[in-house]
């Protein structure tokens, strides 16, 4: 036995550590970490692994995941159907979110500034927010029926003023636009509520000062209202954009991606690949690409927010 180690403190035994309380925090947090790992991080890592494999459960050839390198990703970026769905998403997410946020802002300011009657104002606010409580599939079904080419309400109304109806859901851009209209109807209440709340928090005497200073309505909006609400509008836009990212239900019920594959969005395509064709490897690769896209979006958003930090009051 050497004498060197004798004076070193020995590591305390578990019993000792328990009794002096140093292990207790880990024991308390442990189960949570374990659960989080099992339901979130674990599957995430597993799906990352799957995106590099070929796995078609139920088929004879690929009963089990088989490593194929970047094959799935090559397949994805050369797949015209996927690229078309990304273009669809750019239109749907870009124009749709802009439409919802612009319309919501407009309605919020109009309600705040021009509806003097309190009862009427609250009534209208409620009316605009009620659709948010509809199940998306129900809202989608309602609008699908409204947009029916023959016997639909929209074409019926057009007929009464002498216009010929169109096939609202029967082509790529018009179909996407129709879905956009349905989604705007349901969700315009969100930016409306956010912007309305923001406007209500701005000081009235500041607006009196602007009137005294001789500012026109447009100048008041451009120089006073908008700059102070900009961050809220961006947040409303981000919330709607995140929703557009995972958008599925109305597309599913209204066009089912059709006609053909014309109105497919990436998430819908991923659903078909994963749960219709059970091509799990390809679906995993696809959703990882979408996931990274959303991370980039969030990153850009946070960078914007940090450049205008303290930009509101």
């Amino acid at each position: 036995m050497s004498t060197i180690g004798e004076n070193l403190p020995r590591a305390p035994a578990i019993k000792e550590r328990l009794s002096n309380g140093r292990l207790i925090p880990y024991l308390l947090v442990g189960p949570t970490i374990l659960v989080v790992f099992l339901v979130t991080i674990g599957p995430l890592l597993w799906s990352l692994w799957l995106s590099f494999t070929r796995w078609k459960p139920g088929s004879i050839a690929f009963q089990n995941p088989e490593f194929t390198g970047v094959e799935n990703f090559v397949w994805l970026v050369t797949n015209e159907r996927f690229i078309a769905s990304v273009v669809n998403f750019a239109y749907y997410g870009g124009v749709g979110v802009l439409l919802q946020v612009a319309l919501g802002t407009l309605l919020a300011l109009a309600l705040y500034n021009h509806v003097e009657n309190r009862v009427l104002r609250v009534g209208l606010l409620t009316l605009f927010t009620v659709p948010m409580m509809y199940a998306p599939l129900v809202a989608g079904r309602i609008w699908q029926l409204l947009f029916l080419p023959g016997g639909g309400v929209v074409n019926g109304l057009l007929g009464t003023v002498g216009l010929t109806g169109v096939g609202w859901l029967n082509s790529r851009w018009l179909g996407l636009t129709s879905i956009m209209i349905a989604d705007t109807w349901q969700w315009v209440g969100l930016p409306l509520l956010i912007v309305y709340g923001g406007r209500a928090s701005l000081s009235e005497s500041m607006y009196e000062a602007a009137r005294v200073d001789g500012a026109s309505r447009w100048m008041t909006f451009r120089r006073i209202t908008f700059p102070q609400l900009r961050n809220l509008i961006v947040i409303a836009g981000l919330l709607r954009f995140m929703d557009a990212y995972k958008f599925f239900d109305k597309l599913f019920i209204m066009t089912g991606g059709g006609p053909g594959t014309a109105t497919e969005l990436p998430t819908y395509f991923a659903y078909l690949v994963g749960f219709q064709n059970f091509n799990i490897g390809q679906a995993a690769a696809l959703t990882w690409v979408l996931g990274l896209g959303s991370v980039v979006t969030l990153f850009l958003f946070w960078r914007y927010m940090s450049t205008v930090q303290g930009g509101t009051n």
């Binding site: 000081s203 005497s205 009196e208 000062a209 005294v212 200073d213 001789g214 500012a215 120089r223």
Partner: protein, 381 residues
């Protein structure tokens, strides 16, 4: 620049009457101060001139033009708000430039020049590029003044803009505003509840109470000849001494009796009481008009020391000094008079000690007599 004429302005909010029947006439280039206690209607009057309130009744004219129903942006006014109402997301420069940009008839270089010039006048140069939320209270105040003064409006309005400032800054900005007002001959309406501020700044005071104008006049007139008991008590610091008296006329002599205290009035003052509506007369004397005497006036006192007395119209009150408050070269002395009342006087600093006994004397000409004890009691002399 133009004058402002208000006729019979009435403003109701539901059942609350903010201004009852206000008429006033402010001359071109004049600095008028609306002064009165909280809720007297002065701010409502100012906001009506601005067009931020629509009168229930009455008219407002700038010069010959009736502007009663014009919105603020058509009135060519500027205003400093009590809470300043700066644009919080903008820099100092942008705040000051805003009214000029709204006018939209000056080039960018002209705007820059105008902003920098007024910023120099009001010491705002050092923080032109800073956002106003980052500024101190006093700096924000100056920005608010600069924003209002950068244009040359018809009428310039100020709603208690100095109320949140420390004394030194308050005085400095007040005199700066008065200087600019005189220099540019701006028609200015200033609202304050601070009577001292009103007296120092105004060419003319408009004293308001309970939604009505109770007196209009230059500061000296309002101070020396208050039209109502309310004005006498509201204007002047320390507050005027008030003795609620009963009128007694005996053979050729007119006496005002306040408990044990008698005031014999000179013939002039006695004559002014002919118009009195009753026996109740409030006699007021400003603390500044009292002087100290060791003993009662020599002539024909009845020897009773508790009697105030004054032939030749001199008023005399026997008192004991209780508290001395130093206000620089002068002292405010709080005395206990007969009947336990408090009497205030202003004397040269250091002349009196606490506990001193003697008489406060004032000339009859400095007495203010009011027809009753009510705040609306009218001046008699």
């Amino acid at each position: 620049m133009t004058g402002v004429t208000i006729e019979n302005l009435r403003k109701e909010y539901g059942s609350i009457v903010a201004t009852n029947d206000v008429s006033l006439d402010i001359a071109d280039g004049e600095l008028a101060v609306l002064v009165g206690p909280s809720g007297c209607g002065k701010t409502t009057t100012l906001r009506s001139i601005a067009g931020l309130e629509t009168p229930t009744d009455g008219t407002i004219a700038f010069g010959d033009a009736d502007v009663t129903n014009d919105p603020p942006q058509d009135r060519d006014i500027s205003m400093v708000f009590q809470n300043l109402a700066l644009y919080p997301h903008m820099t100092t420069f942008d705040n000051i430039a805003f009214p000029l940009q709204a006018e939209n008839n000056a080039s960018e270089a002209e705007i820059r020049e105008a902003v920098e010039s007024i910023a120099r006048d009001l010491d705002c140069e050092d923080f032109l590029d800073q956002r106003v939320v980052e500024l101190s209270g006093g700096q924000q105040q100056r920005v608010a003044l600069a924003r209002a003064l950068v244009r040359e409006p018809e009428v310039f309005l100020m709603d208690e803009p100095f109320s949140d400032l420390d004394e030194l800054l308050k005085r400095k900005l007040r005199s700066e505003v008065v200087r600019l007002q005189h220099e540019r001959e701006i028609t200015m309406v200033h609202v304050t509840h601070d009577q001292e501020e009103a007296i120092t700044m105004g060419d003319r005071l408009v004293v308001m109470n309970g939604g009505d104008v109770v007196q209009m006049g230059d500061p000296d007139t309002v101070f020396n000849e208050p039209a109502e008991l309310f004005v006498a008590q509201f204007i002047g610091s320390p507050q005027i001494n008030r003795f609620d008296c009963t009128l007694e006329r005996t053979s050729g002599e007119t006496t005002l009796r306040n408990g044990d205290l008698d005031f014999s009035l000179s013939d002039d003052l006695a004559a002014s009481l002919d118009g009195a509506g009753g026996e109740e007369i409030a006699l007021c004397v400003r603390p500044q008009h009292f002087s100290w005497a060791e003993r009662a006036p020599e002539n024909e006192s009845d020897g009773n020391g508790s009697d105030g007395d004054g032939s030749n119209g001199e008023l005399s009150v026997p008192v004991t000094v209780e508290v001395i408050e130093k206000i620089g070269t002068e002292d405010v002395v709080r005395c206990r008079g007969p009947n336990g009342s408090e009497v205030l006087a202003v004397v040269a600093s250091g002349t009196l000690d606490e506990g001193a006994e003697g008489y406060l004397r004032a000339e009859g000409a400095n007495a203010h007599l009011f027809d009753g004890y009510d705040e609306h009691a009218e001046r008699l002399n």
